[in-house]
Symmetry: C2
Subunit: 194 residues, 2 copies
């Protein structure tokens, strides 16, 4: 039984530092030297653990996309009211953001640097995710739970906030459950006092 619990795992350090750098400076503006320096290593030594910068991005982005896809599938499969599905979706975003605040930041912009076939895979998952999200919103409107607003505008509004969650969490970490209820309040109930 070779090695359980080896140090902290060099690869994971590299992934974590890469995510932070990609998030802060962007994939294109982050050099292998930057990453190596953050890890405390020479740039060439990184290649003992990874095969390319591109694969690094892929290793960060693809599992996250997968998690969102799986979460959406679970919510769609469950027997829930449309409004409950919305709440579950907010919870999904909060949970994944808290668990992976680094890689999740890349979903907004740095996916453009993915090469094929990862790029197409990622975009496909993203499209179906948003399609399902839209259908749930439309179900809320049809059922009278939501006002008869433009469903695509509502989707855009919710998603842009949920995608930016990581920046909020980094500055104000706290109880995920509290954050979740605050998000539901802002996004669904609205700010206006009733």
């Amino acid at each position: 039984m070779a090695k359980i619990l080896r140090p902290p795992g060099r690869l994971e350090i590299i992934l974590k530092e890469s995510a932070a750098l990609f998030r802060d400076k962007g994939y294109g503006a982050t050099s292998m030297n930057d990453i190596a320096e953050a890890v405390g290593i020479r740039a060439a030594s990184l290649y003992n653990h990874i095969t390319s910068k591109q694969q690094l991005l892929s290793a960060l982005l693809m599992p996250i996309a997968e998690k969102f896809t799986a979460g959406m599938a679970e919510i769609c499969a469950a027997d829930l009211s449309p409004i409950s599905r919305i709440e579950r979706l907010v919870a999904l975003h909060v949970r994944l953001t808290v668990a992976h605040p680094g890689p999740i930041a890349l979903i907004t912009g740095d996916w453009v640097h993915l090469e094929e076939p990862d790029r197409s895979t990622f975009l496909g998952q993203r499209n179906t995710y948003e399609k399902h999200f839209l259908e749930i919103i439309e179900a809320c409107i049809a059922g009278g739970a939501f006002s008869p607003i433009d469903s695509r505008v509502a989707l855009f509004s919710m998603l842009s906030t949920l995608h930016a969650l990581h920046s909020w969490w980094r500055k104000h970490p706290g109880d995920p459950a509290v954050l979740e209820s605050q998000m539901v309040h802002c996004l669904v109930e609205g700010l206006r006092q009733k």
Copy 2:
């Protein structure tokens, strides 16, 4: 009276193409060659119109920051109820986004590549802008117009949507007034049917 209405103005073309490329690929991943190619010119020829890549970013970002600062000052100076100020702020974002959909995209992420002193100037303006925005939200809560939610969460939620507006506008251009009322509905009134 030298030249009114000269062709389309080469510099403006360069600025517009740069904004689009910075927005799509990020400042660091956009090369002078990319910009030159988009303009239909060789990279070296760009320097007949600009002094550096850095100055290009600065020329795109700083005027936008200035416009937000000026807009906020105007709203603060006017004699308005807190809730009216919120509506005016949404209108300000919609108006600037529609007028400058390219450069406005850089406000979210690419400002990190600004060099001093522009970087500090930009951050200063951004901070005071958000401070004023927060005060207006708190006035809404204090006056009973808003629910007693965490004001910073409300600010984050509104700003993240307003900052992402450009991506929506690019895909679904239309009547700015309609967009504005939809935004007010999503951000203030909430999606939930009352």
